[in-house]
């Protein structure tokens, strides 16, 4: 577990380059308190400018007053441009630049229903999401309060109103208490006698307003644990090449700030494959606990070999997409052939062929990093070929198996959603909201008001099993907000639990692995983590409990 000193100012840092290694999510709040105006920007294409208002929303969640956060993408920015009398306010004499939103602009997934520029409507037939009408956010001043991180063996959480881990009814008829000893939840409910005993036993009490108990989150597809500063190679495990077939567990570097930050945002577990900071990975992924100090910690590695990964993108093709698909198909076909006796003797453990034999015999899933619909179509065609070979060469002697393929990335996967569903291929969208940044992703759906939903909506409608992964490491801190995005803009496709499953149990189902001790890992929030402004107040994992008071 990381040091408790890493709390407050420096607890939520993110580190793309050395220069950013001391950044703080509280920066806006601190600057404002010191008389300096914070504004929020996209640096498009670094962030998609389409969602720059979400930066302001997160700033509000991180303690910046609501009105300052909203000014930070409207009036304060306009003033800095010398246009403070013309732009950024709804006031007589200002330019007629107006947005009508489907929900509070600082809520998760707030979406315009119409935009006017200089009085002219900008969307002729805007898609309007079917969303329950909600009142504006009532600014929560508690978000401005600094919390202190502590580790405690014995904790009571009060005022829990919902348990989103529960199979069935998650709503408590009255708010309840949760009693924890060494990360084990010993009582949920009124727990009358237990409360008396615990109070006498000096349990630390965390008083909540509107407590939510949820499963923990799993980051899938990132370089978490294999890379500390994106732009600094010295901090990387180092990726892969044509010759090597690395196992991520051999390169895992724990106890970094990236991991500490992910942990403190509820990302307790991660599945990482050898890569260099994008979805493009090759080798064997590892499942580990983000709060571990080293791979030798008890429970740190909960699954040494999760899946076999290959990239099939423009950036990683060698020399072409067609040849990369061909090479992979050839290798998989070769792996379906039984070995001769003398070959068996010389079988090289941990080799590429060794892992591909595990893939074709159904023991490990094959995860392919790919965005482009055409390449996904090629993968579906390849699967047909391999499945035939498996049926011919392997299945007659053993139980029937099929190639288990997972698409990681999937910006354009929605274009072949039905075919993916038919081929029983699942998709981990990474990121959830791509924006045509590369040619491979050029047909990314921007969502309402321009398109009827985004990729996830189309995939869910087609019956594809979907998860949300991450592309870049910083995204591992916002998994619940991405789940919230899918939920809020999903027009009823997902329940809250199903939304949280996108960054939890779905990942395990997709990879066909059993989630390790899912009940002994939990998160307790004040507020609904699928909404803006929920704060993580307790984490239970691997025998330890971290709280924020």
């Amino acid at each position: 577990m990381t040091s408790t000193l890493a709390s407050n100012l420096t607890s939520s840092q993110v580190y793309y380059k050395v220069e950013a290694y001391t950044a703080s999510e509280k920066a806006g709040k601190i600057l404002y308190e010191n008389g300096i105006t914070p504004v929020y920007v996209s640096d498009n294409p670094v962030l998609n400018s389409q969602h720059v208002v979400f930066e302001a929303a997160k700033a509000y969640a991180n303690g910046l007053p609501y009105h300052v956060a909203l000014a930070g993408v409207t009036s304060a920015s306009a003033e800095l441009l010398g246009l403070g009398e013309r732009v950024g306010k709804i006031k007589e004499g200002f330019d007629a630049d107006v947005v009508v939103w489907d929900s509070d602009p600082l809520s998760i997934a707030a979406t315009p229903v119409q935009v006017w520029i200089d009085g002219a409507p900008q969307f002729e037939n805007p898609v309007e999401l079917k969303k329950p009408q909600t009142q504006p956010i009532k600014p929560d001043l508690n978000l401005q309060r600094e919390l202190t991180r502590m580790e405690r063996a014995k904790v009571i959480f009060t005022n829990i109103t919902r348990d989103l881990r529960a199979e069935n009814n998650d709503m408590f008829s009255e708010s309840v208490n949760v009693i924890v000893t060494n990360s084990e939840i010993t009582c949920i409910g009124t727990c009358k006698d237990e409360m008396v005993a615990a109070t006498n036993d000096n349990f630390t009490i965390v008083e909540l307003q509107n407590g939510y108990l949820t499963p923990s989150f799993t980051a899938f597809g990132s370089s978490l644990g294999l890379l500390e500063i994106d732009a600094e190679k010295a901090t990387h495990d180092g990726g892969f090449n044509d010759a090597s077939f690395p196992r991520a567990v051999d390169g895992l570097a724990l106890d970094g700030k990236q991991l500490a930050t992910a942990f403190e945002h509820g990302t307790i577990k991660a599945i990482s494959a050898p890569s260099t900071g994008t979805i493009e990975a090759k080798g064997v992924s590892v499942g580990f606990l983000t709060g571990s100090l080293s791979t030798l910690d008890i429970g740190a590695i909960w699954l040494e070999e999760v899946a076999v990964h290959y990239p099939l993108t423009q950036r990683t093709k060698s020399p072409s997409i067609s040849s990369s698909v061909g090479i992979l198909r050839g290798k998989l076909l070769a792996a379906t052939k039984p070995k001769k006796k003398d070959e068996k003797k010389n079988e090289e453990l941990y080799s590429e062929d060794y892992y591909l034999r595990l893939v074709v015999s159904g023991k490990l899933p094959l995860v392919i990093s790919v965005h482009k619909a055409d390449t996904i179509a090629a993968i579906i065609r390849m699967k047909v070929t391999i499945d035939k070979a498996i049926a011919k060469e392997i299945t007659p002697s053993k139980k029937p198996t099929k190639l288990q393929i997972v698409i990681l990335g999937g910006a354009e996967s929605y274009l072949v959603a039905k075919e993916l569903a038919a081929a029983n291929i699942s998709v981990v969208l990474a990121p959830l909201l791509p924006n045509s940044q590369t040619w491979d992703e050029r047909r990314s759906l921007p969502g309402a008001p321009l398109s009827n939903g985004t990729a996830i909506d189309v995939l869910l409608d087609a019956g594809v099993l979907v998860g949300i992964g991450v592309n870049e490491i910083w995204e591992t801190r916002g998994l619940h907000t991405m789940a919230g995005w899918a939920w809020r803009n999903g027009e009823g496709r997902l329940t809250e639990k199903q939304a949280l499953a996108l960054v939890g149990s779905n990942i395990y189902q997709i990879l066909d692995i059993k989630e390790s001790s899912s009940l002994s890992e939990w998160l307790i929030w004040d507020g609904n983590p699928l909404e803006i402004g929920a704060r993580l107040r307790g984490i239970g994992s691997n025998g330890n409990t971290v709280i924020w008071i």
Binding site: Q13, E25, K91, V100, S103, D118, G119, P121, Q437, D440
Partner: protein, 407 residues
């Protein structure tokens, strides 16, 4: 969008040329007088044009024109004011719109709120209101706007109680500079580290599809900055995210997208730290380190300062001896013109700086050369050193941040 043109209201062209419809009576007399004056003016211009400063062979009229420009050279812009008859960006044919039943965030606290309360957010509210748009302006914000206040031929939009805000302003965007799908890129002019003389507008593609998708997130105004590969990246431009007829504009054009057609302010991008080092730093070639970057900044600013001084000296001399007696023309140098404008206070400088050494070094430059930086971008370590920011010349810069993606 289909557009119907209104006869009695200004069109986009007439906005530029000013209204000219006048009564027909006395028109002939007027025309005659004007023609005579124009002819006389032309005649004298021609005479002076060819009158040569006898000692140096310079054109007197050019010297006089340049002398006349001295005042505008030193002009310090004032923010354009709000209330107007019409918005110069307004396109004739855009129908007035009454947005009914919205829940409005005006962006201002209610009248009478003390400054202290406003800082804490007291007085800011979402309130039920109608909003009337006409002539490209917000002309009325009030609950239940009276029928008598409504123009003819307006359209109604029922907001159904939903939240309404001003359009989002993104003051750090490279939208339209990079090719679609990552093909091609006009973000950085990497021919040299000091390129204050280039302009992002020259690479800005007004039909880039991302303009529409970005706007679909509510962004109506963007500061289009050159990239951060250079210590001095070039001039930036504020655009509205509306392009072409389908967005209610008269045409597809870079200039048409400028948020302030009067170009009151100019903008410039600069950058500190790792990027220019990474782009240019080689043994024997700089900037190799932050030391070299500080030199690059100061050296460029020194050139610009010399240039500004040479112009000011010329203007003073012309005031003293008369423009026609000047022995040379007003100094001009495109390389340092825009940076000179920075020193003259005409340019809102936006600088990409992350770390304490970068911030403090840059703040030193502002004081040494007396120019203002309006915002530090990325600015990850600003929260550790507000005191340094407050020492910047001409006013405390803002910090333009990401909420949690520290790139």
């Amino acid at each position: 969008m289909e557009k119907t043109y209104l006869d009695d209201l200004p069109s986009y062209d007439s906005v530029v040329r000013q209204w000219s419809k006048k009564r027909r009576s006395r028109r002939l007399i007027r025309v005659t007088v004007i023609v005579s004056i124009l002819f006389a003016a032309y005649y004298f211009t021609q005479i002076s044009k060819y009158s040569i400063n006898s000692s140096k062979g310079l054109s007197v009229s050019k010297l006089q024109e340049q002398h006349a420009s001295c005042q505008s050279l030193r002009h310090v812009p004032v923010d354009p004011s709000g209330p107007r008859l019409f918005n110069k960006r307004w396109v004739n044919g855009t129908k007035p719109i009454l947005i009914k039943n919205a829940t409005v965030w005006t962006g201002e606290p209610s009248p009478g709120t003390s400054e202290e309360d406003a800082r804490r957010g007291i007085g800011y509210n979402w309130a039920t209101s109608d909003v009337l748009l006409n002539y490209g302006l917000i002309v009325k914000v009030a609950p239940n706007i009276n029928a008598t206040d409504l123009p003819e031929d307006y359209e109604t939009y029922d907001a159904k109680g939903r939240q309404l805000t001003a359009g989002i302003v993104d003051m750090h965007s490279h939208a339209g500079l990079e090719g679609f799908g990552g093909l091609g890129d006009d973000t950085n002019e990497l021919s040299g580290d000091i390129t204050p003389y280039v302009k992002s507008l020259d690479g800005f593609n007004p039909i880039h599809p991302e303009i529409q998708s970005i706007k679909s997130g509510g962004v109506t105004t963007s500061l289009i900055l050159p990239g951060s590969g250079n210590n001095m990246g070039g001039e930036a431009f504020v655009v509205k995210m509306a392009s072409g007829k389908s967005n209610g504009r008269a045409e597809i054009s870079q200039e048409d997208m400028l948020a302030d057609p009067d170009k009151t302010w100019r903008y410039m991008k600069m950058a500190c730290g790792e990027n220019p080092k990474r782009v240019y730093g080689r043994t024997g070639r700089g900037p190799y380190s932050r030391l070299g970057e500080a030199w690059e900044f100061r050296h460029a600013l020194e050139q610009a300062k010399k240039f500004v001084e040479s112009q000011d000296n010329w203007c003073r001399a012309a005031n003293r001896v008369g423009a026609e007696n000047m022995g040379e023309y007003l100094p001009s140098d495109l390389r340092w013109e825009s940076l000179g404008a920075v020193l003259r206070g005409q340019v809102r400088v936006n600088t990409h700086c992350y770390t304490i050494p970068d911030l403090e070094s840059y703040v030193r430059h502002t004081n040494e050369f007396k120019f203002r930086v309006w915002a530090f971008h990325h600015a990850h370590q600003t929260y550790l050193v507000p005191e340094i920011l407050k020492r910047a010349y001409g006013g405390t810069p803002a910090a333009a941040l990401f909420a949690d993606n520290s790139k």
